[in-house]
């Protein structure tokens, strides 16, 4: 496993699931309470899998697993997401 990238890299995979640009969503970490834009999170990529960690405490925020026919989104460490409304 090499070094991580930023949450910016989630824009494509999350565009399959949400109509809003989720990298501009602010995300509250359930572990440490830090609130940051998802673009700032640490993303560890493996084939068909994105593991997303809090940039402050390193706790798991969410995981995206892309199967052949289904995408699984695990939000195990997200306390809240705040998403800009369209046109604002």
């Amino acid at each position: 496993m090499t070094s991580h990238v930023d949450g910016n890299a989630l824009a494509g995979p999350l565009s399959e699931l949400f109509s809003a640009d989720m990298t501009c969503a602010s995300c509250r970490c359930a572990s440490c309470g830090d609130v940051a834009d998802l673009a700032e999170a640490m993303v560890y990529q493996k084939p068909n899998t994105y593991i997303v960690r809090c940039h402050r405490c390193g706790a798991m925020l969410l995981t995206i697993i892309q199967g052949s026919h289904r995408t699984r989104l695990e939000l195990s460490g997200v306390a809240a997401l705040s998403v800009p409304r369209p046109g604002t």
Partner: protein, 245 residues
């Protein structure tokens, strides 16, 4: 919508450095993009195996032409194909534009506050910053722009001729860091970016610049930490890491 894949056609290819080249794509239906956005590119093998990667877009604005610039990663799965094999006329699957966070928007009008902008790029991390510099020039913006560009050696500079042209503007300055080999006549000595170099070559924190940092993860982390030490609020420093060394 952006979640959908579409097919673009390669219209031009140009070498940028010994290990990289720019790739122009014509993408029917492309809605235009903001400076700093990226796209996802998907390659599919005959057996159905797919590999998807994100690439920053070096262009900005309306139109259906986008330009990428890709550096060959020695153990890469996608970049060697794009740098060594791809030819004009080939088709590629892409989706985008993607990401609304690492972007620069020109001020809406002359009365908008014109916060200075500091771009800091390492290697091919110049690509989204190039889109911002081009957008800045395209609207003849007077927003102060400053670029600090870190490369191993002079031959590793992407968009060298165009950057030299952009730097003729009174509103766009370029400073350099050469990590291994400096050009003849260069006053400094080669080496990685330091706190002292950042202090002298970056818009001071007192002017509250919007800072965009893009490059390999190690470079970005070093620079972002040093900027905070120099007084830049972390919220003013936007980063885009692309992994690697």
């Amino acid at each position: 919508m952006t979640g959908d894949w579409t097919v673009g056609t390669v219209t031009a290819i140009a070498p940028q450095t010994p290990t990289s080249r720019s790739i122009d794509l014509e993408v029917p239906g492309w809605p235009g993009n903001l400076a700093g956005q990226h796209l996802d590119l998907r390659l599919t093998a005959p057996d159905g195996y797919t590999a998807t990667r994100s690439y920053s877009i070096a262009t900005a604005g309306a139109g259906t032409r986008v330009q990428l610039a890709v550096d060959r990663l020695p153990d890469g799965e996608v970049s060697p194909y794009l740098v060594d094999e791809l030819i004009v006329g080939d088709q590629l699957e892409v989706r985008g534009p993607l990401g609304g966070w690492f972007v620069w928007r020109p001020p809406a009008d002359d009365r908008s506050p014109a916060e200075p902008v500091q771009l800091i790029g390492g290697g091919s991390g110049i690509v989204p910053l190039m889109a911002m510099a081009r957008a800045h020039a395209a609207v003849a913006s007077t927003v102060p722009f400053r670029l600090l560009y870190s490369v191993r050696a002079p031959e590793d500079v992407f968009f060298a001729a165009e950057l030299a042209e952009l730097a003729r503007s009174p509103h766009f300055d370029i400073d350099w860091v050469y990590t291994r080999t400096a050009p003849e006549g260069w006053s400094g000595s080669p080496g990685r970016v330091t706190r002292e170099r950042l202090a002298e070559a970056v818009v001071p924190a007192a002017l509250d610049p919007a800072v965009f940092v893009c490059g390999p993860t190690g470079f970005v982390e070093t620079v972002a930490d040093l900027l905070v030490e120099l007084g830049h609020p972390a919220a003013r420093v936007k980063t885009e890491r692309f992994g690697g060394a």
